[in-house]
Symmetry: C2
Subunit: 410 residues, 2 copies
């Protein structure tokens, strides 16, 4: 097993998945919603797990999200998550809601669970109904295990046109016990348009209450999943769910636990890792763009500016074209809703300083172009106003983005 120390006593587990934390099993099958690819997956926990979730802020929350919220509301516990790709079950009215409840029911039956311990997630085309016959038959085929290959099957089943699987696993030690966190995610790829949903599922064997887990997830989401953008769109189905089995047998984690920062850091690294994988695999993307903003009035404003830059079509096309065009970064900062002193801004691309105190600096275009041809590009901005810092991640805007999204659904 490849283990890499990440600082703060957090270790990266290269082969880790959602079944690496104690108590979790997974499966993924081809239920026939799509031609050949696996399209239905499940994560099951041996015990009712503490849980936390965050949901899309879209006004049009899809049916499965409503059902998941209902489930969690009962006793803040989950024991399974059932996920399908190909159909989002969004904008499907009463029938959609009924279908999502049935999906929950069937999953509960299959694994002998109470229905309110099951979360439901869907990703795919908006405005179409779930093919319930296929879902019913598919759920019966799900045979979760602790095996790596079943975790991979789950990772595959949740994808749409993502070009790569997204997973992460980190470990730390709490009360002398090894605590593991594993995650799987999908990003916004599209075969049929509208499949731009971000889903992430995180498992851990930490012993932690649902309320502490929810607090941690909410604040971590703000600096990880909420700081990525592929095209500025928010899906009707975005959701992140965490389940904690408690089987690591540490003393219950709360923010007052002396080793809370280690758990928090491990969960944050898991989420940030998954978020960056989603950004990097954005539709048509060839590069990951990381924007770091320092010296802002507040962290909130730093995050907002970083996201504005990384979301700018002009910055994204410039990175695609390896054009060291800092004027576009100025353009994006210029219309961010944040305090900016226009006379004291620094901008760098990697180690190449472009602007210092808002004065253009001489730089080698050749070196800048060479830097921008890397697969990961870092833009740094210092506003010299305060101590606010923020990071955001995105990808370049390419011909393929247009190609993927201009194609007919039919």
């Amino acid at each position: 097993m490849i283990i890499t120390k990440q600082g703060s006593d957090v270790y990266y587990i290269a082969e880790g998945t959602v079944v690496t934390p104690k108590g979790f099993q997974a499966a993924g099958v081809h239920a026939g919603l799509r031609y050949a690819k696996k399209d239905l997956g499940v994560i099951v926990c041996e015990v009712p797990a503490s849980c936390a979730a965050v949901y899309t802020q879209s006004h049009f929350q899809a049916a499965p999200l409503k059902v998941t919220q209902q489930s969690i509301a009962v006793e803040q516990k989950l024991q399974a998550i059932i996920v399908n790709s190909a159909c989002a079950n969004a904008c499907t009215g009463e029938r959609g809601l009924k279908d999502a409840y049935e999906m929950r029911e069937l999953c509960a039956e299959q694994f002998g669970l109470q229905p309110h311990l099951v979360a439901v997630a869907s990703t795919g085309v908006i405005g179409e109904f779930l093919p319930m016959e296929k879902i019913r038959a598919g759920i019966k085929k799900l045979q979760p295990s602790h095996l790596q290959e079943d975790a991979v099957a789950f990772q595959t089943a949740i994808l749409t046109t993502d070009t790569v699987m997204k997973k992460a696993c980190y470990q730390t030690t709490i009360d002398g016990k090894t605590v593991t966190i594993g995650g799987a995610a999908k990003g916004s790829g599209m075969i049929h348009p509208n499949m731009a949903t971000m889903l992430a599922f995180v498992t851990t064997d930490a012993n932690i209450s649902s309320s502490s887990l929810q607090d941690a997830l909410r604040s971590i989401t703000d600096v990880s999943f909420n700081q990525i953008t592929v095209d500025g769109e928010t899906s009707t189905n975005d959701m992140v769910v965490v389940m904690a089995s408690g089987l690591a047998q540490n003393n219950e984690l709360t923010p007052n636990h002396p080793e809370w920062p280690k758990f928090y850091e491990a969960l944050k690294q898991t989420c940030e890792d998954l978020a960056k994988q989603i950004a990097k695999d954005g539709e048509g993307a060839t590069k990951l763009i990381e924007v770091r903003v320092n010296g802002a009035a507040t962290d909130e404003e730093a995050k907002r500016i970083a996201k504005k830059i990384v979301g700018s079509n002009l910055v994204k096309t410039a990175v695609y074209g390896a054009d060291a065009n800092w004027g576009r970064i100025i353009g994006a900062i210029g219309h961010a809703d944040a305090t900016v002193d226009p006379d004291h801004v620094d901008i760098s691309l990697g180690n190449i300083v472009m602007l210092k105190g808002s004065e253009p600096q001489p730089f080698s275009e050749e070196a800048a172009t060479a830097y921008l041809q890397h697969k990961e590009v870092v833009i740094e901005v210092n506003l010299h106003l305060g101590n606010g810092t923020g990071v955001a991640w995105g990808c370049d805007l390419t011909y393929d983005y247009v190609k993927i999204n201009a194609s007919y659904r039919t």
Copy 2:
């Protein structure tokens, strides 16, 4: 002269330009800032004109905008506007400001005016200094006249990579006098990237105070220029300037004048016409998209939702691909900062109803695709919440947008 009645006693003048209103002359020359195209233009008024202006909300306001604000502050009058393309004179610090003042000075000298009666505008690359030798020589070559060809020379001189000139002219009658409004604008085309500036210059012979003109311009800008988007970017140099010579000799217009609504309507139509021309000629665009939102809680929210839809990369690529993908419109509405009842939304493309009361409606894909192949596409949304209405304009997102913006500056 082709004259078309527009309702409310407002007439469209097909051949009208900025020199059609009484008292205005224009010129455009090649000063050598660009290889061959005209790049320096001026509008001059016979008399000190009442004036109004609105400026970019970017934190990084370019030097010429600062100088123009200074000019207008003195006595709320303007007698000339000098404009160059190719260099934005933005992010150029003290030297840039000095250059903009010199440009104002030289223009005043050339036409025997007081410097504070001159407005300055620039559009082009950010972070480069104005080539002042060329500007000095160019200003000496400016010989404005009332001739149509000189208005066309001005219209050309302000363009960057716009593919067409933008102009509009409307007439109405106030106190039995013909009042004419003419306008010229440039949009966001790029040869060198960063040239994404929107400039509009409007002339009128109406007799109106600067303060009434400013009130009208501000409220009209909110429903015209501020409701277009090509790529969600705001330039450092955006500016709209109106000059009113008063030579139509109507009684002074104020909001209390009985025929104020006619003037307001004519100015609104001029601005809306220019705004739509800019949207239609967005970078790489093949289609104009108009989004009309009705039934919102307020006009403000209707405008916000309309702009969100028309600014969505996913909607823009779907229109480019003639894909009747209403799920993307739902996506855009879903994350608009506005009140939405997710169960009562109607969406139409032209006359084709896609969604009614948030229920998908059967429609002919063939008819929808055919409709989306038009050069002008209308998306209508009804939220059934209140009486708020708003319209926004934009364009499709195409391979050419990426091509234009991914190309190297050098």
